[in-house]
């Protein structure tokens, strides 16, 4: 058996033993997300527009991640609506920025891997860069909005008549608790994987100026910052959606 299969089985076993049914469904969401990611590349390679593909696939990935991981219905629904709003807001930012900074495709550092390949493949790499950036932020958006929605729904459960203004204060305070550690998750997640590139930059004595204008570096830093913006936006937007849901539920009761 290949290493990936065995590692996958180990992860599945651990998630099921420790997480029970939630763990098993969470593992399923991972497999679905992989399939969706691969599907999106295949669709783009078949000539579907990158923006449309990322919008549709993004909507589905968020649904799998949120509804397969969270048991509480109110929290999951709120987190999903909030994540969709944040995704659209991010697309409105990512699209112009990627067209402005032109950090798409490949750089000179990739030359060795590109040997013998045809680069004139007729697919806009700027569009691909937009898709990459959008998909890489989805996990962070989902995680942050789930954390905030779960925290708030617990407060609502304990104090069903909590005031809207109070919910805002609580939402921000939950946000403050998670922001520090979430930043680090993203920082390590993005830069840990780029250790080899940083060793390359340092080893070949790239100047500071070359690094901050380098295609690959810029592309990576942008992805981190888009994710950070997504997480920051998750705090007020999830709270706002929760207050709407809360008000609607209160009205239904009357």
């Amino acid at each position: 058996m290949s290493t990936i299969t065995v590692l996958g089985l180990v992860l599945f076993a651990l998630m099921t033993i420790i997480g029970g049914k939630t763990g098993a469904t969470a593992f399923l969401s991972l497999i679905f997300n992989f399939a969706l990611l691969f599907l999106s590349i295949v669709l783009i390679s078949w000539g579907f527009p990158a923006m449309g593909v990322s919008l549709v696939i993004g909507t589905v990935i968020l649904a799998f991640t949120i509804f397969f991981g969270e048991d509480n219905e109110l929290a999951a629904k709120t987190a999903y609506i909030a994540s969709l709003i944040i995704m659209v807001a991010l697309i409105l930012l990512i699209f112009p920025v990627e067209h402005w900074i032109m950090a798409q495709g490949f750089s000179l550092e990739d030359s060795e891997d590109l040997e013998g390949m045809s680069l004139t493949i007729g697919v806009s790499f700027v569009g691909v860069a937009v898709t990459e950036a959008i998909l890489s932020t989805l996990g962070a958006i989902a995680e942050a909005s789930i954390a905030i929605a779960a925290g708030l729904s617990e407060i609502i459960e304990q104090h069903p008549h909590v005031a809207t203004k109070r919910l805002y204060i609580d939402g921000i305070s939950i946000g403050k608790q998670i922001i520090g550690t979430t930043f680090n998750t993203l920082f390590f997640g993005f830069f840990g994987g780029f250790l080899a590139l940083f060793i390359w930059f340092s080893g070949l004595h790239y100047s500071f100026g070359s690094v901050i204008n380098n295609k690959i570096f810029v592309g990576e830093v942008l992805m981190v910052m888009f994710s950070l913006i997504g997480v920051i936006l998750a705090v007020p937007i999830t709270t706002w959606v929760m207050t709407l849901e809360h008000r609607r539920a209160a009205k239904l009761k009357d």
């Binding site: 590692l7 180990v10 991972l30 590349i41 007729g122 990459e132 995680e143 998750t185 080893g203 007020p236």
Partner: protein, 369 residues
Amino acid sequence: MQRIQQHWGLWLTLLVITVGLIGVGLTRVNAGLYQQTVAKVTAIKKINHTATTDEFNNKDATYTQWVTVKVLNNRHQGHSYRLKNTYTKSQAMDQDYRIGNQVFLRIPSEKDAAITIQGLKRDTTLAFVAWLTLALLLLIMRFSGLMALLSVTLNAVLFYGAIQIDLATNGGHLYTLFGILAVLFAVLTLWLVLGFSRKMLVTLGATIAGTGLAVIISLIVFSVTHERGVTYEAMQYVTQVPKPLFLVETILGSLGAVMDESTDIVASLFQLQEERPDISPNQVFKSGLQIGHSIMGPLINVLFLIFMADTFSMTLLYLRNGNNWGYTFTMNMSLGMVQSLISGIGIVLAIPVASWLASRLMPREVTTA
């Protein structure tokens, strides 16, 4: 008094945001700081375009344009040049220049050698997005945002230092060096988030144990399966021995997520015990697992999407170059997949470790009989 403080906090935030925006603007006129020659595109003229078809029947187009640039710094400041630029419709390694773009130029000393555009100057856009992130962070999170930023900055400094040491030793002590670095990262980050306390020590223990166990399990799987399907040769930008580099990348990549999760679990358990001082260690352990259930799925997905998004462009290129799905996956996505799985194992294992450590090491009320 507090109101005045809040007032000042708001003004200070607005000041930082305004100064930041001015800073972004200044990157348009910072050519003097660069050693490379910087020039501004002043005029563009399209010459012609031809449709191309490659051997895999991909239809593309090649455009040629005259780019007039005016040098902004160094020896040739003020000179204008007219250069030819060729780009493709897909813009994989080249690009369409527009009026107002600032670019880097290579001006060779020999007279007859051609002047070439080396690439776009991207610092203004980068500074703009950084400014936007900072502004949102300060406006919404205030002081906590600043602390988060501080911990990321300090970690970046540590990271830079470790790379310098690694280069000085030629990558000979990669495991030791980055092993120590990982522990330092964890201590520093958790100290900033939690302060030096029992809570922080428990979280630190869980982080290190969870990550360590994941590495041990992966190494066992690696040796049992003889690393079949792990294509180290497909690793990008490698200048040192790939396998240790890959493992270190994986450990660092998952470290933040494991800390994130351990912090959540330990903090909630300490709070639980504060609310119900008579709770038994076994109940604490069970509650810890319960909290972990809902955190682990989304967290594993965060890393998975980050690791996989990086492989997007290359995977697409492979597919359009007539490779089948299996080969494309092996050459581009399998390493990211292994990384995601090992990180996932670390994230899952940290749950029982954090819950157990918290349940045994929490301060108990001394019950005087």
